[in-house]
């Protein structure tokens, strides 16, 4: 999750120069179904931009409009300040790496990679040079003469990447690039992919439903739902400062407390909830008496058997569930109010910490900057 180390995103490579600009794009299918609803965004040169959302949120439709497979019902798309909204896909300097790769089954690896270059009527020797360079980059030289079905999933994925990079596109679109790989392979491939992308320095738009994939690969993420953006920001911003209950809930695990602001000071606020009273160590743009949500990530909660001091930022409950993940354990505690709160403890010793077991009574406590106050 968010604790996974980020691959070296070379922030120097990201300039403020805008490459892709999407302006008020709407896509309506069959006159009624709004797949994408008045979306605007900019992607800077050298950036890996993630579109994150569940299935049917419109992320793929948006990507397909960038590729030129769909026409926006409304709005414009600019690449390098050139309006490409009506340009057919075969004239756009944009290439896509397809979900499940869409490699041409009747062509060899070499011919797959050369396919796009041949369409540009590039001289033969130059094609050969470029293809060989791409195959080297993707470590595929050994497999040049194989057909796609003679390759494993990871190799097919690299062929797909090599093919989409061969034409040196201004923009690379990645549609669920790791979706077809198993978990173990995904982690190594993720880093490989980012390394290759950064080596060639291409700007990317990445579509995924996997938040981990978006977090580790993208330099900025747009969280999408029902055709519009809920929030755009850096991965850590999205995770630590979500702007709504929906984003907080979508990214990672979260405990939501619903309550009312009873003290509103410039440097702190106090929110009264059913099972506890939150002391939040910063001000907020709202006022006293307002109903707010307080989001608290499970890993920010500490567990103990002893009652914490003070009257704020703790709750008590009974352990109802213990979920062991190896590196960490998630405890589910049921409060007197009937809510279940999840607390996540890192297993930093080999004896299973806390000494808590099912049915135990325990206290949860957290710091005064651990939670996020959400007004919508």
């Amino acid at each position: 999750m968010a604790t996974a180390p980020k691959p070296q995103t070379d922030s120097k490579a990201i300039t403020k120069e805008v490459l892709l600009r999407v302006e008020g794009v709407t896509k309506i299918y069959d006159g009624t179904v709004k797949a994408v609803d008045n979306v605007s965004l900019t992607v800077n040169k050298g950036e890996i931009f993630g579109l994150l959302g569940g299935s049917g949120c419109g992320k793929s439709t948006l990507l397909r409009m960038m590729a030129g497979f769909e026409k926006p019902t409304k709005g414009k798309i600019f690449l390098d300040n050139q309006d490409i909204t009506d340009l057919p896909s075969y004239q756009r300097p944009i290439n896509m790496m397809f979900q499940s790769y869409a490699l041409f089954p009747h062509l060899s690896v070499w011919e797959n990679v050369a396919f796009g270059l041949k369409r540009d009527n590039m001289p033969k020797d130059e094609i050969a040079k470029r293809v060989d360079a791409m195959l080297t980059l993707a470590q595929l030289n050994k497999y040049a003469q194989r057909k796609p079905h003679q390759l494993s999933g990871g190799q097919q994925q690299r062929v797909a990447l090599a093919r989409s990079l061969a034409k040196r596109p201004k923009l690379l679109l990645l549609d669920e690039p790791l979706g077809a790989l198993d978990k173990k392979l995904r982690e190594t491939t993720q880093l490989e992919l980012v390394n290759i992308i950064e080596e060639v320095g291409v700007t990317c738009v990445l579509v995924t439903h996997d938040q981990e994939e978006a977090m580790t690969m993208a330099s900025r993420i747009a969280v999408m739902s029902e055709g519009y953006f809920l929030q755009i920001g850096e991965p850590d911003v999205i995770y630590e400062t979500p702007n709504s209950r929906q984003v907080a809930d979508f990214i990672g695990n979260v405990n939501m407390f619903e309550g009312e602001v009873i003290v509103d000071e410039p440097d702190h606020i106090i929110v009264k909830c059913d099972e506890c009273t939150h002391y939040v160590g910063h001000g907020f743009t709202g006022n006293k008496g307002m109903a707010v949500g307080v989001a608290l990530r499970p890993e920010k909660i500490m567990l103990s058997k002893d009652k914490p001091k003070g009257e704020y930022n703790w709750a008590e409950g009974v352990v109802t569930e213990i979920v062991y993940f190896g590196d960490h354990t998630t405890y589910h505690l049921k409060t007197a109010a009937g809510h279940v709160i999840k607390a996540q403890e890192i297993n930093n010793t080999r004896d299973l910490s806390c000494g808590l077991t099912w049915g135990d009574h325990a206290y949860m406590h957290w710091g005064d900057l651990a939670m996020i106050v959400l007004t919508h």
Binding site: A67, F69, Y90, M96, F98, R146, H149, Q150, L151, K167
Partner: protein, 281 residues
């Protein structure tokens, strides 16, 4: 029921089915080597009916006419069937799509007699008003192509449906204009379906007797028509001989093609296994 009796029953059933299907054919083949003029009475083995077949210019020219019609109509069927399948699969919205999709396959379920009769009526009135087409090779071709197009459309459609639509998009994405998408990606992947559509419509045309009878003109007798009319005048062992030759050719073709496909399939499986075994990296 016990396992053993179950097995006996299953084997017996299988045997019955085989007998039902193949006994008539075996009889036909055996009796083609019968010396007797009577089709049902065995005298002794000979190849005299095969020599007779070689002399039978009516029957031989009918065979060649049938082959010619089957070949040409299969070509036409595959051509038009592919277009129909494309229109129905790749272009989701156009006027008359629903109509085309249901009409294209109607000949599959329409009795041949009705198709033949309606075509004949149309051709007769056309000839009356325009003076052409003369009934003969061309009109038989037309009828067979009409029927074959429906079959070919079904075969090609099923292949198009299972083909990944993203391949077309990938080709386009890499700079192929729509016609290049067809020639470089869709067509090569479609070849197996085109071949099987060709074989199917070829066979369909080759053994058609109903449509041909309606649409043929004087002097244009296809092989099934000749066999049919001779059978009505009394069976002649030459028919057994020509049937045996046909069966032999078909059997060899079927066995060869199934050997070929299973060989391809096995090769593919081997290669895939190889890919997974050396990919631990």
């Amino acid at each position: 029921m016990s396992q053993a009796s179950n097995k006996v029953f299953a084997n017996g059933w299988m045997l019955a089915v085989y007998l039902f299907l193949y006994l008539p054919i075996v009889t036909l083949v055996v009796f083609s080597f019968n010396d007797s003029k009577l089709v049902t009475v065995w005298s002794h083995a000979s190849t005299r009916w095969y020599s007779a077949l070689m002399q039978d210019s009516d029957l031989l020219s009918a065979v060649f006419l049938s082959l010619k019609i089957a070949f040409l109509s299969a070509l036409m069927s595959v051509f038009f069937g592919t277009f129909t399948a494309f229109a129905l699969n790749r272009y989701r919205h156009f006027r008359g799509r629903t109509m085309l999709s249901s009409m294209a396959t109607t000949p599959l379920v329409m009795p041949d007699v009705i198709v033949g009769l309606s075509l004949l009526l149309m051709l007769v009135s056309l000839q009356h008003w325009l003076g052409f087409p003369q009934r003969g090779l061309f009109t038989i071709l037309l009828g067979h192509a009409l029927l074959g197009t429906a079959y070919a459309a079904v075969v090609v459609t099923s292949r198009l449906k299972e083909m990944d639509g993203r391949l077309d998009e990938a080709a386009m994405d890499l700079g192929s204009k729509p016609w290049q998408v067809f020639t470089l990606v869709t067509f090569p992947l479609l070849v197996p379906a085109l071949v099987s559509a060709f074989l199917l419509t070829f066979t369909l045309s080759f053994d058609d007797v109903v449509l041909s009878s309606f649409l043929s003109g004087p002097g244009f007798n296809t092989m099934p028509m000749v066999i049919f009319s001779r059978a009505r005048l009394g069976l002649n062992p030459t028919i057994n001989a020509v049937a045996t030759v046909t069966i032999t050719v078909v059997t060899i073709a079927v066995i060869a093609s199934s050997f070929y496909t299973s060989h391809i399939e096995r090769k593919r499986k081997r290669e895939m296994a190889l890919a997974y075994s050396d990919s631990n990296q």
